[in-house]
Symmetry: C2
Subunit: 276 residues, 2 copies
C-alpha cells in the first residue's frame, strides 16, 4: 500500500486492552516454506534478520508439532545462538481439537479457549507462535492463541516472513485489490464441482480473486476437476513450490490449460487461484 | 500451511506458456512498510537477504513512482552495491489510468495492456516490479504487469517481504483460514454504512474475516463509523504502523471499543478487520 508520510511513534496514543504489568509478548514467528523438503535453502534467504534474531531470543513456544519446531530452532541456532538450548525450550503443541474443528469452533462446537496456553506470557516470558510453514494463524491453526493474547491484554507482534498465499496472489496476475482465501474445497463429487462453480461465479461477477489450497497428494485430481468444471474463458492460476529453486507460477485461461499436460504433481505444496 | 514432504525439483515437469528464448524474468520486489516515515528501520530488518541481493542485480524497473523507487534503490545500494548506478537504472512508471481505474478495468473501461512495458524483458533483461510499500500487485496496482508477463511467457518470481494485510490478519486473532481483502470502503454516507453492515453480515454468517484499508487521514472517521454502525458483539481489529517500532495491533468487540478513546490517528497506515 502507498500512504501518506508517517511520523515516528505516531501511534503512541493508541489505547486498547491494558497489558498486565510485566507480561511477556506473543510473537508470531513465520517459518520458511521448505517444510519437509530434502533440500532446504539457507534460512536467511527466506527470513529477515529481525525475525531470526527475535526467534532466537525466545524460549517458550506454541506450535502445531514440537518435533518440527525443534528442527526449526536448530536451523535458527546455526545462524543466531538460541538464548536457551533446545532441550531447555518450553514447547507446547496446539491440541488436536483445534486441528480438527478450527480455532473458533462452528455451530456444533465452541471456540477453543487458548488462554491457559499463555500462562508463561502472563508470568513475564515472551512466547513464540509458529506453524510448520509460513505465517502462523494464516491458512493454519493458531488464531485462537492470538485471540487469547488479545483477551488477556498481551501484546501481539507479527514478524515478517514468507506467506505462500500472498506470493501466489501477487504472482498470479489476478486482481490483488480484492481477493479471498477460502481454504480447502470439499473433497468429493457434486459438492466439489458446485463449490468450484460458486467460486468461479464470485470471481467473475465481483472481480474478487478466489484463492484456495489442497493437500498435495490431491493436487492433480483438483486440477483435473477445475479444468473440466470451469468455463473456458475463466482464468486459472497455480503457484507451486514457492520460494524453492523449483518454484513455478502459471496463469492461463481454462481453454489454454486444456491444451497442456497436467501442470501439478502430487508432492509439491500448491496454491490455486480463480479470477478474471 | 503444513504439507507432506517435498522432494527437490519436484515441479520440473510443470509446463505452461513457453517462455521466449532468452527472455528476462519479472521479479516482484517487496518494499519495507516505512514509506514516508521519518525514522526508517534498516532494510535488512524487513527483507530477507535474497530479496535485497536480487533487487540489487536488476536495472529495469516498473513502479508506481520513480522518485520513491530511486530512494529505495539508494537504500539497497548501501547494503548491496547495485549492478548499475541509480542514474543508469531504467525506471518506468505505471500510467495514471491504472491508478484510477485499476489494472483489469471494469464494465466501462477495458483492462490495461501492460505488454509494451515488458519490452526490456523480451530483450533479455530481468525486470523488477515494485510498489511504494509492501508487495507489488497486492492492495496496490501492478497486477496488469504480472498478467502481461504470463501472456508473454515471461517467468514471474515473487520475492519475500512484508505484507501489511497478512501481518494484520495473523495478529488480529480472527479466522485466518477464511478471509477476504476488500480494499477501500465507499467514502460517504449511506453507501458507506451499508457496506459496513454488508461486510459484518458476511463475517458473522460465513466466518470469513473481512479486511480493508483506508487512506490514513480518514482513519479516525472510518473508526467512528465502524463503532457506531456495527453490532456490539462483533469483533473489530486494527493494526497500525506494522513493522515499525510504534506498531500496534488491537482486537476487541465493538462494545469494548465504545468504552475506549479513538485508537487511530490520521497519519499511520492502518489495516482494519471485522470478524467473529
Amino acid at each position: 500500500m502507498s500512504h501518506a508520510p508517517v511520523p515516528p511513534a505516531a501511534t503512541e496514543d493508541v489505547s486498547c486492552a491494558d497489558a498486565p504489568t510485566k507480561a511477556g509478548r506473543l510473537f508470531l514467528v513465520p517459518a520458511p516454506l521448505d517444510f519437509g523438503c530434502e533440500l532446504q535453502a539457507p534460512l536467511e534467504d527466506a527470513l529477515p534478520r529481525t525475525t531470526i534474531r527475535q526467534a532466537a531470543q525466545l524460549s517458550h513456544w506454541i506450535c502445531e508439532n514440537a518435533k518440527s519446531t525443534r528442527a526449526y530452532l536448530k536451523r535458527i541456532d546455526a545462524l543466531q545462538p538460541l538464548s536457551a538450548p533446545i532441550q531447555a525450550q518450553h514447547i507446547a503443541e496446539l491440541p488436536r481439537e483445534v486441528h480438527k474443528k478450527g480455532d473458533h469452533g462452528d455451530k456444533s462446537s465452541p471456540a477453543f479457549d487458548a488462554r491457559p496456553m499463555l500462562a508463561a506470557a502472563l508470568q513475564g516470558h515472551d512466547v513464540g507462535l509458529v506453524s510448520e510453514a509460513g505465517m502462523p494463524a494464516v491458512a493454519d491453526p493458531g488464531s485462537s492463541v492470538v485471540r487469547a493474547a488479545h483477551d488477556l491484554g498481551i501484546t501481539v507482534i507479527p514478524l515478517v516472513g514468507p506467506v505462500s498465499l500472498l506470493l501466489a496472489l501477487a504472482a498470479s496476475g489476478m486482481n490483488g485489490q480484492n481477493f479471498a482465501f477460502v481454504g480447502y474445497l470439499p473433497q468429493s463429487g457434486p459438492e466439489r464441482a458446485q463449490r468450484m462453480r460458486e467460486l468461479e461465479a464470485l470471481a467473475l461477477k465481483s472481480g474478487q480473486t478466489q484463492v484456495f489450497i489442497e493437500t498435495p497428494y490431491r493436487n492433480a485430481a483438483l486440477w483435473q476437476g477445475l479444468t473440466q468444471t470451469l468455463q473456458t474463458n475463466t482464468r486459472l492460476a497455480l503457484a507451486a513450490g514457492l520460494t524453492l529453486e523449483s518454484a513455478k507460477v502459471c496463469s492461463l485461461t481454462v481453454k489454454q490449460w486444456r491444451q497442456q499436460a497436467i501442470p501439478v504433481d502430487n508432492r509439491t505444496p500448491t496454491v490455486f487461484l480463480i479470477g478474471r
